[in-house]
């Protein structure tokens, strides 16, 4: 195979897409998760059921939606339901295999913050807030998180816990009887972190090609655990890259076309 160049964002999206099991019912957040989910649908996981909180079940968009409720999502869905039904019967009902979330901040136990930077009552930066994330994180059988890794995002202590990962680690999640088992991987532009089976602390288990472990440590706001045998993520294949770029080009064209 010929050498291919790609960006770290492309590597992140492709690595995240690969985590999607074909046929899974997938509750998708907008942005990076949506790009990864749509890539998965167009590569190894054509039977993935894309579910957006706006009410679309089995959406098959041809371009990446800009919002969580673009018209194409509902026009291509197998079923469109009200938002209360989506949250009650589908998410809370335990029907979703995999939740796919982004985050502004994450800590070592994969708890995430999308609410506020600084004090809640005197915010430095007011973020959009919870949306569907707390219950996606709680109720999906499994959760994936994808975000860019740097030490403003990967912090020692969250300013606000919007959505729970493993709380304080160990069995603290199980003790609260969450319906789902929580995050199984955090996919970044530098590598893949997975929770330690016992302590639940996020551990670097795969590093993207060309990235140094030291760079990942520096991008992490806590002393990062690194697996004894560290995998190197397989680089994007030419096929993966071409599908992703094609999707992004079509998306850019489609969204520019409306004014």
């Amino acid at each position: 195979m010929s050498e291919t160049t790609y960006t770290s964002d492309e590597m992140m999206t492709i690595a995240a897409a690969r985590m999607v099991r074909n046929g899974a019912a997938l509750f998708v957040g907008i942005g990076l998760p949506s790009a990864a989910a749509n890539l998965a649908l167009r590569t190894h996981a054509p039977d993935t059921i894309l579910i957006y909180e706006s009410g679309t079940i089995g959406a098959k968009p041809t371009v990446l939606p800009l919002s969580i409720g673009d018209g194409e999502l509902s026009e291509t869905a197998d079923s469109v339901v009200s938002v209360p039904e989506m949250f009650a019967y589908w998410l809370q009902g335990g029907r979703i295999d995999l939740g796919f979330l982004g985050a502004a901040q994450i800590d070592r136990y994969a708890n995430i913050n999308t609410t506020v930077i600084g004090d809640y009552h005197k915010p430095k930066v007011r973020l959009p807030g919870a949306g569907g994330a707390p219950e996606i994180a709680a109720s999906c059988k499994e959760v994936l998180i994808t975000l860019r890794q740097n030490n403003r995002a990967f912090v020692d202590t969250l300013d606000f816990v919007t959505s729970a990962g493993f709380l304080t680690g160990g069995d603290s999640r199980e003790q609260l009887r969450f319906p789902g088992k929580g995050p199984t991987a955090v996919i970044t532009d530098l590598g893949i972190l997975t929770p330690d089976p016992v302590t639940k602390e996020l551990t670097l288990t795969s590093i993207h090609p060309g990235v140094e472990v030291e760079a990942v440590r520096k991008a992490t706001g806590w002393p990062l655990k690194v697996a004894d045998t560290l995998d190197v993520t397989a680089p994007p294949t030419a096929h993966e890259l071409s599908v992703l770029r094609d999707l992004q080009e079509r998306t850019a064209r489609a969204h520019a076309g409306q004014a």
Binding site: I30, G31, E53, S54, G55, T56, P65, L66, S67, I68, G69, D70, G71, L73, S74, E75, V80, S82, V83, P84, M86, F87, A88, L91, Q92, N111, T115, Y120, H121, P123, V125, R126, L127, P128, G129, A130, G131, G132, A133, P134, E135, A137, A138, S139, F160, V161, T162, S163, A164, L167, R173, L176, R177, F178, P179, H255, A256, Q258, A259
Partner: protein, 285 residues
Amino acid sequence: MASIVQLNEAVRDLVRDGDVVALEGFTHLIPFAAGHEIIRQQRRNLTLVRMTPDVIYDQLIGAGCASRLVFSWGGNPGVGSLHRLRDAVEKAWPAPLAIEEHAHAGMAAAYAAGASGLPFGLLRGYLGSDLPKVNPNVRFIECPFTGERLAAVPAVRPDVAVVHAQKADRRGNVLMWGLVGVQKEAVLAAKRSIVTVEEIVDDLGAPPNAVVLPTWVVNAVCHVPGGAFPSYAQGYYARNNAFYKQWDEVSRDRDSFTAWIDRHVKGTSDFAGFRRSIEEAAGHV
């Protein structure tokens, strides 16, 4: 029975200073025209309720209509922050804005409870989240059968619900389709309601099990073609993504926001005037 009236009359008669108002529409069918009319009529001290306060609430907040916001996700979808919302929360401009913050699942349950005549919505929610620490309206109860701990949120019961739909018939029965969000729940939870529509037709031609609001649960139906712009109305027009992107620039700065609202909203007499004003401005750029 709904009255079929002009939007400015509906807002004049049904939206009062200090009301709890829910303008709903989940990305789709957002009632922009009605929001603008509330700005034109300078309503004050509103408690604004909405799962996803986006550009229309940014405009209402920036224009000084609101003193309180009940919500679960506040952003410009696919673009970024709502600058007027942030300025109000972070710097109390143009007025302090108290917030009651939920997760979507809680808001959805609260609207459904309101529609159901229940005092609270029940959910498996807020587990492990800090939200209950900052929102005293998230409480917990025990299941009387299993002892499980479940979350409770007070029902949403707006004074007025405002939604946009595709069609009404001449009696005021309303049909909507596509993403229907919590619009039906908002109308049924509210004491009064206003529905703006793309078309008024002789016969709704509703398919079986369609989402229909019978005329006798609606107070006012207003014919406002394009009234969801820049959001969209499935079957009529697409979302104007460019507007959402441009809003980021317009709203970033207090002066440019105020100039925009003065020129395009307060400086026009209705939504058609707003659309012409926007198009003229675009033509001169």
